[in-house]
């Protein structure tokens, strides 16, 4: 099942990221993963949170611009070659990885990669058919 990632627009200026993380912590929103894609003037802050509704309420109050995007939390065996194995499955079916980043820590014996694959449903089916584990929100204490 896909997880909804929150992407926040952040102008590149000192304290912008801190402002968001502080707001979230003050409102007791746990982060499961965080990633930034940047240009010279601004960045896209990508968040996997334990409570999207609460996070979005805070972001809205702060007049921040954000959007939700479905992503997959793909379980990767913690051994060499495991990530390559998953990427190979996707490449064979011409599914692009738009971006990916890893989730904090190891859980349930796996490392998890957050992947934005465009064709979420197709990718989910494909990975499952190849015995790749995709995390459910509850596996990551999300929701």
């Amino acid at each position: 099942m896909a997880i909804n990632q929150i992407t926040v627009f952040l102008e590149n200026k000192a304290g912008a990221l801190l402002n968001v993380t502080k707001l979230l912590s003050e409102n007791k929103v746990d982060l499961r993963a965080i990633n930034i894609a940047e240009t010279t003037d601004y960045g896209l802050l990508r968040l996997i949170t334990a409570d999207n509704a609460a996070a979005e309420k805070v972001l809205k109050e702060e007049n921040l611009i954000f959007t939700e995007t479905p992503v997959l939390a793909v379980a990767i065996d913690d051994k060499p070659g495991a990530l390559s194995n998953v990427l190979e499955i996707l490449a064979k079916e011409n599914i692009d990885v738009h971006y990916m980043y890893s989730i904090f820590g190891h859980q349930n014996g796996y490392a998890y990669m957050i992947m934005q694959l465009g064709e979420t449903d197709k990718a989910t089916a494909l990975l499952k058919a190849n015995s790749v584990v995709i995390a459910e929100p509850r596996d990551l204490q999300i929701g």
Binding site: F9, L10, E11, D41, L44, F66, T67
Partner: protein, 432 residues
Amino acid sequence: MERYYQKEVECASREEMVALQNERLVAQVKHVWENVPYYRKKMEEKGLTPADIKGIEDLHKLPFLTKDDLRDAYPYGLLGMPLKDCVRIQSTSGTTGKRVVAFYTQHDVDLWEDCCARAIVAAGGTNEDVCQVAYGYGLFTGGPGLNGGSHKVGCLTLPMSSGNTDRQLQFMTDLGATIICCTPSYAEYLAESIHERGLRDQIKLKAGIFGAEAWSEEMRHDIEEKLGIKAYDIYGLTETSGPGVAFECNEQTGMHINEDHFIAEIIDPDTLEVLPEGSQGELVFTSITKEGFPLLRYRTKDITILSREKCSCGRTLVKMKKPMGRSDDMLIVKGVNVFPSQIEAVLLENGYPANYQIVVDRVNHSDTIEVLVEMTPEIFSDSLGKITEMEKNLVSALKAMLGIYAKVRLVDPKTIARSEGKAVRVIDKRKI
């Protein structure tokens, strides 16, 4: 059916208007000669006496006044009446760094309010309307001018002044405002707020009268669509009175100049020659009814075109095109003339909000221009590729319009200050 506030003047024949202007100009020149030594000296330097001005065909002989004269003569040098006969001052916002103080007798205030009343009636206003005046009140002419005009029309007037958007929206919905008067940038902001709060169904607005800033046709369509109103332009300057020097009718193809009070000319700003009708040039006004602050041939620095083409509204008053922007607003970047209104038009065409700021600087002896635009939910996406593609398209569109490269910078929402008086659209660091 078209309604007028003062039909006999607004629809007068050209002959009647010229006769009125001739009579008033001759009297005004005499008044100024006798009461304003500063201007009398200027006339004397040109070897002129009031006897040389027999009518509007002699107007071109008179010396010009500029903002520099107003500064030199500050505060009382251009006063036309004893202070005991003046009842009011208004002052410019000082956006160009030179504050102007203008004086009004009660007669001047009355005529100014008549001009604003004409604008409100042209926008469909009647004594059945609720007119929300959200221009600043105080030294700025916007609030007092439209307030007075609204009284004259008999509208229920809401003297809100600018700012405090929560209160604006509360009165707008609770008291059913039908006409809103404010700067176009504040109208845009109100429209955004109404949209965000889902109040569109609760507002009864039918018309807006927006002025004091340069704004584009695209911005007009945007405001009209968001608020479900017809948006009318209004023009004026503190030096001649305030808003209401010219106003728009339903045709929305230019603003009718109240020429029974202000004679308009278009000149070449370099040679100072008067240009024929239809030419683009600098707008010059001669006040022919003002007593307290009677400026003759005042150079507005606004670049526009006059037209006497027949108007479908029935008014015969000459029309001026929406100014390209004050020549004060005009930026020269890398030797190219840039008007903020051109940049605004490109932004709106490309789906960006009209709230923007232009920063001009000089780096290594070369001019740079940067356009700051606020990110909006509509243009935001999770894909860096999509956003940078949009930025690239905007840069190309700006280049096509301006002829030079302008950098685009996307900034956080609500970080560019909303104007309550006049928007600070341009920061020219070359001058700091």
